[in-house]
């Protein structure tokens, strides 16, 4: 079963875990072949998301196409509509992306996008901004980091979130320049405060409007001489980005982060250095970097398999891939994300989600352990997430009422699990190997509960019931949180 374990490891790390219909494939194929097919599936360009309400879209198009640039704005009522509708639409985008992660063959691209989504963390109350940034990320996720960095830096979302709209000649706002270096490229300790000040000046004039789109406002731009990381000149924002990319430290910082996300929380500095050098030398080709990682022997070292605590999104999508189901109220996944501490499009701050052990506390662990049973019996999640004022933005009364209603009726997940697909996988398993086979399929590291003890908690009336209850129970273990 060695290939199976390796293949599952690859699928959990380069994607969101094995899907129910890959059962045969992972037992018979080599990891090399499996990875090549994963790469193949990513060659086609992604279908971009477009979930915004049509009334809003019309409003935005009208504003964007206004022949007078200074009129490309919204009235106060339109602004209010945009904010209010965006809260709804961003949830729809959230669910849409989860669906893509679950269904797509281009697993590596969506997993990579999730990584960049956390790396270029941003939060707005504008569906178009959020959607545009995500689509930019999905398009460049496995492309070139240079293209990704430029597009993200000029995205409406990032400009607004990091206050570049307020960054003007004579009144600079350093937020974007600072986070660009601290979080997106070099990392702390590799630049000075003076560098922040100077580069902030270079980004003056970079703006966007509520209707979106990048605008360079010449009159607000400080075109004077600047000194940045030892280079002098009348540096523009583009120049700053090029200089940052020219620093090998950028390649090292990004590579280390990727290693920690995809391989092991403890970065092996020698490997990081080797990978980063290649990444830098080939001009920041992300796909090549990921190929190096996933085709290395060390990727499959025992110390890496089962070492990663699944993030809430990895955990939700992983369950959906292994236990295909039709969820009647898919927005409940947003509630789940909130209770587990990771809501897409709502990072805690610009540094993204810290991950690892931070995902696990008494409440989040109990919910993860209980959820399979809840799903199985379409039970009630009797939990209330904390208020998020940034998200609520004055809609509190309405949402509080809605929450009260839901809690009265019970917050029920409506789902129908495709059990036939699941039980089918184990059709050929001999009786005494049935439970071990299920364990091997679900877990990347062994549990100490032996099969006999486990049987005390299973439904032994018939093979299908045995399989179903075994899947549910094994998913309800601490080990299932790991991959």
């Amino acid at each position: 079963m060695r290939d199976q374990r390796k293949n599952q490891h690859l699928l959990w790390r380069a994607g969101f875990g094995p899907s129910a219909d890959q059962f045969k494939q992972i037992r018979n194929q080599s990891s090399g072949k499996l990875f090549r097919s994963m790469l193949e599936a990513c060659q086609k360009a992604p279908v971009l998301f477009d979930v915004a309400d049509s009334g809003l879209k019309a409003m935005v198009m009208a504003a964007r196409n206004n022949p007078f640039p200074q009129r490309r704005n919204f009235s106060p009522e339109e602004k209010k509509d945009l904010r209010k509708q965006s809260v709804q639409d961003i949830k729809i985008l959230n669910v849409r992306w989860l669906q893509e992660m679950t269904d797509t063959d281009a697993q590596l691209r969506e997993k990579m996008s999730l990584f960049w989504h956390g790396h270029f963390a941003s939060k707005t109350a504008n569906i178009f901004y959020d959607q545009e940034l995500l689509n930019i990320i999905r398009q460049h996720a496995l492309g070139n980091f240079r293209d990704l960095l430029f597009s993200v830096s000029k995205s409406a979302s990032m400009i607004q979130f990091l206050n570049n709209n307020q960054n003007r000649k004579d009144h600079p706002n350093e937020n974007f320049a600072r986070e660009l270096m601290e979080l997106f490229t070099l990392g702390r300790g590799n630049y000075t405060e003076q560098d922040v000040k100077e580069s902030a000046r270079a980004f003056t004039g970079w703006g966007t409007r509520l209707a979106g789109g990048f605008e360079f406002r010449e009159r607000q731009h400080d075109a004077g001489g600047k000194i940045f990381l030892g280079r002098t000149g009348n540096l523009s924002g583009d120049d700053i980005l090029e200089i940052l990319l020219g620093e090998k430290q950028t390649a090292i910082f990004i590579t280390r982060k990727i290693y920690r996300f995809f391989v092991n929380d403890q970065a092996d500095e020698n490997r990081v250095s080797e990978l980063a050098t290649a990444f830098y030398d080939n001009g920041y080709d992300i796909q090549k970097l990921m190929e190096s990682i996933f085709s290395s022997d060390w990727f499959y070292d025992d110390i890496n398999i089962g070492a990663h605590i699944k993030s809430p999104v990895e955990w939700i999508v992983g369950i959906r891939r292994q236990l295909p189901q039709d969820i009647g109220n898919p927005e409940v996944q947003v509630l789940l994300q909130r209770l587990l501490g990771q809501v897409l499009f709502n990072p805690p701050n610009v540094a993204g989600w810290p991950g690892g052990k931070h995902w696990i506390d008494s409440s989040s662990l109990m919910l993860r352990l209980r959820f399979p049973q809840i799903m199985y019996s379409a039970d009630t999640i009797l939990a209330t997430p904390k208020d998020d004022d940034d998200l609520m933005m004055g809609l509190l009364e309405e949402s509080a009422r809605r929450r009260r209603e839901m809690n009265r009726a019970g917050q029920i997940i409506h789902t129908r699990i495709h059990w036939e697909t699941c039980t089918d996988q184990f059709r050929e398993s001999k009786e005494e190997y049935l439970i071990p086979d299920i364990r091997q399929w679900l877990l990347q590291c062994g549990t100490a509960i032996n099969n006999d003890s486990l049987k005390n908690f299973l439904n032994l009336s018939g093979r299908d019931n045995l399989i179903q209850s075994a899947i549910i129970r094994i998913m309800s273990t601490p080990e299932y949180q790991l991959c």
Partner: protein, 399 residues
């Protein structure tokens, strides 16, 4: 052989048949009662940015009334604290505590380079970080870390909520969040979970596995311990039938049971009154007042009031001028209340806010909140405030 429930419950210890107890559970041995004289901190977070100026009202300040022609609370509508200060009319309990000398008011509490974003400023308050720093651990979490390693008291910090705040999240230790003891107990009593713990961790050398089992063991044993304790001395006092009333009742019951918890955390919200502030804030203050009143009264009749410190805060205050929607927008510094029978100094500790020295229409902080934390950590919780906060902040003398 399954560990029986009873064995989990003895004094919260699992030590009866040690050879049956998996290694990591041995950490619970000796989790005794709270030693008498051990003080308890209750942190009440007012979420959303409570308007401090309409809470403790500068009744003699013309600037206040000029900037808030509609929203300003008239002197004769407020409850008098001093010649300069009134308090919001709904906060009758706080007025009484003030008169008794059991309420300390700190005005203009904030930090340098204030952030007006909810999630950012709340993180700053919860992690006790600087405005430009990002920390992943909370100040109470780091206090837990400093107490001991694999402490026998993972129930030392409890949050009465379904989710754990960052404030109680440390590097190694985290507080336990529970909506109420019964619910946590019901969630954790599945015999399958007990079997998992009984069988133990198959990979004790693996860091992640270890951590998962540690949290699981602490939660389940903690759930039992908390539930049993909550039944020892349930509060018989009358509490308002609001969410916050129930949470305070839970806390009072636990305090009076002698459980080893030293810090409780809860929140009330949302105070984000951009629109229709008068009604919104009033409604919340009615709830807040009734809950605190019941809580204080309960503690007093159980002779615990001098051992408990109730501290309130908000992630920021609001702008001095009212806006065009009957409300106020995000501001900066605001007030903190300290309620206890053990205050050495009470009343208005640092005067009233200075409305003539505003920064772009906002109050400038006069007191760094980390000084308050440092004082409480040092004098109330007997902890190394410098280590926990990452720097030394000035000690205050209210305790």
């Amino acid at each position: 052989m399954l560990i029986k429930r009873r064995e989990f419950l003895q004094l919260g210890s699992l030590a009866t048949s040690s050879f049956l107890v998996p290694k990591f559970l041995k950490a619970f041995e000796g989790a005794g009662k709270l030693e008498t004289g051990n003080k308890v901190l209750v942190v009440l977070q007012l979420s959303g940015g409570n308007d401090g100026l309409n809470t403790v009202i500068p009744v003699r300040n013309d600037i206040y009334y000029r900037e808030r022609p509609k929203l300003g609370i008239a002197k004769n509508k407020s409850l008098t604290l001093s010649s300069e200060a009134g308090i919001h009319p709904e906060l009758t309990c706080l007025k009484a505590l003030y008169d008794e000398g059991n309420l300390a008011i700190l005005n203009q509490v904030g930090y340098p380079n204030p952030d007006r974003s909810h999630f950012r400023s709340m993180d700053i308050w919860q992690t006790a970080s600087g405005s430009n720093e990002y920390r992943n651990t909370g100040w109470i979490g780091r206090w837990l870390d400093a107490q001991c390693d694999h402490c026998d008291k993972p129930t030392q910090a409890l949050e009465i909520d379904d989710m754990l705040s960052l404030a109680l999240s440390g590097d190694r230790m985290k507080g336990i969040a529970l909506h109420d003891p019964a619910r946590l107990y019901n969630a954790s009593r599945d015999p399958f979970f007990r079997q998992i713990l009984q069988s133990g961790n198959a990979h004790p050398a693996a860091d992640s596995n270890n951590y998962l089992f540690q949290v699981m063991a602490e939660t389940i044993s903690g759930a039992d311990y908390i539930f049993e304790q909550s039944k020892l001395h349930p509060s018989l006092a009358a509490y308002p039938d609001t969410e916050i009333g129930k949470r305070f009742k839970t806390i009072a019951s636990l305090i009076c049971s002698g459980i080893n918890t030293r810090v409780y955390y809860l929140s009330l919200g949302s105070f984000d009154t951009h629109v229709n502030q008068e009604d919104r804030q009033q409604k919340l203050f009615v709830e807040l007042n009734a809950a605190i009143q019941a809580f204080v009264s309960d503690l007093k009749s159980n002779h615990r009031f001098h051992e408990v410190m109730l501290m309130t805060f908000s992630e920021f205050g609001r702008r001095v001028a009212q806006n065009a929607s009957g409300g106020t927008d995000h501001g900066t510094a605001s007030n903190m209340f300290l309620i206890s029978g053990a205050l050495k100094k009470a009343g208005l500790l640092n005067g009233m806010p200075d409305l003539s020295n505003l920064s772009d229409g906002d109050l400038q902080y006069q007191l760094d909140f980390r000084s308050v934390y440092a004082t409480i950590l040092n004098k109330w919780l007997d902890a190394d405030d410098g280590k926990i906060l990452g720097a030394k902040f000035e000690q205050m003398d209210f305790i």
